[in-house]
Amino acid sequence: MKKIMKIALFEFMEKIKTRAFLIFMIVFPLIIIAISIVPSMLIDTSEDTTHPVGVLDFTGDYTQGLIRQLNEFKFPNGEPNYIVINLYSKDKSKDEMTKFADRLVMEGNIEGYIMVQPKGQDSLSVSYRNRSLGNFNDVPRFEKVFNNVYAAERLRRHGFDPSVINRLISNVQLNPVKIGQPGIQKEMSPEMIYFSSVIFLMLLFMMILFSGGLLIRSVVEEKSNRIMEILLSSCTPDELLTGKILGLGMLGLFQILVWAIIALALLGGHYIPMEIFHEIGLSMLYFVLGYLFYTAIFVGVGSVVTTEQEAQHFTGYLSIVLILPLVISLKVIQSPDILLVRILSFIPFTSPPIMLLRIKVMTPPVWEIILSTLILIFSIYLTIIITSKIFRIGILSYGKRPTMKELAVWLKEK
């Protein structure tokens, strides 16, 4: 036990002093910050300022309604979202008006304009013309506003009283509310849910690959320069294995700690959403288990491969397995309880990342959590047993990589 701690401590101290580790520890949060802050900053700046928008209505029936309703959109601070300009003038031809309006858009005087044209007997063609394809918020908003105005106009033509019309077409806003426990509710935007779930996934992904890489390289180094023999004349293979995994675990915890401090600092500046800490206990459980599982695999493989190149190939293969949950993460968030996702929640290779996602979106049934945790713990146990057997022999085999058949023989040895 004493030796295990010494090995763990040495591994931890030596790795922490490497330049690669320092760079990783600083660069990774920067990437995360870039991913999380930059888009929100971009959206914020475009949303906080008032935009001039035009209305060009060739029918003349909807201009007033549109202007009135668009003027009702206000920022929380009371500033209007839009300044609406009527671009219709009786003196110009239709062509001239369109050209004039287009020029205003191109020159940046207005953000865009809504054009209403009669089409056939009883139909309209409505478009929002602007330079880009439009802001997420603007287009659906304009569509809704126009439909309201359109409906009101039609009802008016049918002789309805204006006060009745208002009541008829009054809108109800739908707020997304996530229910964690009955009675406790939380409002969350879908973007926030996605971000706060994926961030853990990326964290896990990066940490496994990075520290797994470190580990595999250190085992390969010890094998290639025969330090392994001195180590094994001083401790048992199991002590060495456990020490290494523990040391790496400490390294992982240290990383998380540093990142958590950075995150908290940023939280103070409201850069990182609080939602990240939703279900943090359960997230940490899956995080730690997933980390342990993959670390154990890395040690076993590290003892078998003999060169750095082989180690890199292996890391490559494993990253493909790891990236799968990231690829399907959107699907998991949209429908966290479809069969495929539930199956993946029980496979040890994918259960930590998939569960990390599911927890954030919709707390899975308790039995699923318990079962998948048990499977995971059992798999870790099994992996460590297999790994230690392979490790015991693998660390002393030099030169050529063992075949599958030889590995099977190793596993049978006591």
Binding site: E14, E229, I230, L231, L232, C235, L396
Partner: protein, 304 residues
Amino acid sequence: MLKVQNLTKKFSNVVAVSNISFEVLPGRIFGLLGPNGAGKTTTIRMILNIIKPTEGTILFRGKKTGYSFQNLVGYLPEERGLYRKSRVIDVLRYFGELKGLSKSRALEEALRWLRRLDIEIYQARRIEELSKGNQQKIQFITAVIHDPEVLILDEPFSGFDPINQEMVKEIISELVAREKLVLLSTHQMEVAEDLCSNIFLINDGQEVLSGPLSEVKKNFGTDIYRLEFEGDPSLLRSIELAEVIHLNGGSAEVRLKQNALPHEFLKCAVDKLRVSHFSEVEPTLNKIFLQSIKQKSKSSIQGS
């Protein structure tokens, strides 16, 4: 003492070590000798508990060497290597602590040895910044830092210049004087001849010869004699009892033919030449080594 009894190691289809037994005694250096691939390293690994023997036992002070033995043994492997990126002092402390030294003791001993080997100025350097010779010294320290009861040295002098070789020899003889067990494995027979008082010669995993060096030499016997003389060397050649294998002016080495006795040969020689010196040539270990291995392989061919 360290006692190896009927040790055998089989790998899936190769017998690496076959039924060998020997004893390492305190106060003298034991030489485990043999050509490359003879099974020396496998034997050492079994003693160190790195691999398990297929059969046989290893006893230290009458008890089976278990994991508690690990703190009592120091090992200098043949192929040297250390954590290249780490600092000298960190590596030494780590290996010291792994051998059961306390934190402070490990540091103390590391510094003491660095001073002893004249490399204390490098303590804060990274290993890779050191010259090859100094890296070897660091490696040697890792083997002795915990003052082991048993020291196992695999080709200890390769990579050292003559001055450092002397330094290492001095340290080894100090340990021997303090009744430590020293096992030295080498294929350099001159080194073994110089240092070892007991030898065990192994080839193809099997014992070829063993015993105290002087006895081994005596038992091996000799039929080679050195002769110093004045007179016509061709007269020497005419003696039928022996064959001249080496001739240099007034000095010659001859090999007696079978059944010929040295004094008969000397009688003939004295008749023909003025002999000033006649002596038995003690076989070098190298000679014994080569000849025994040749004989052994010959007999095994005949046997099969």
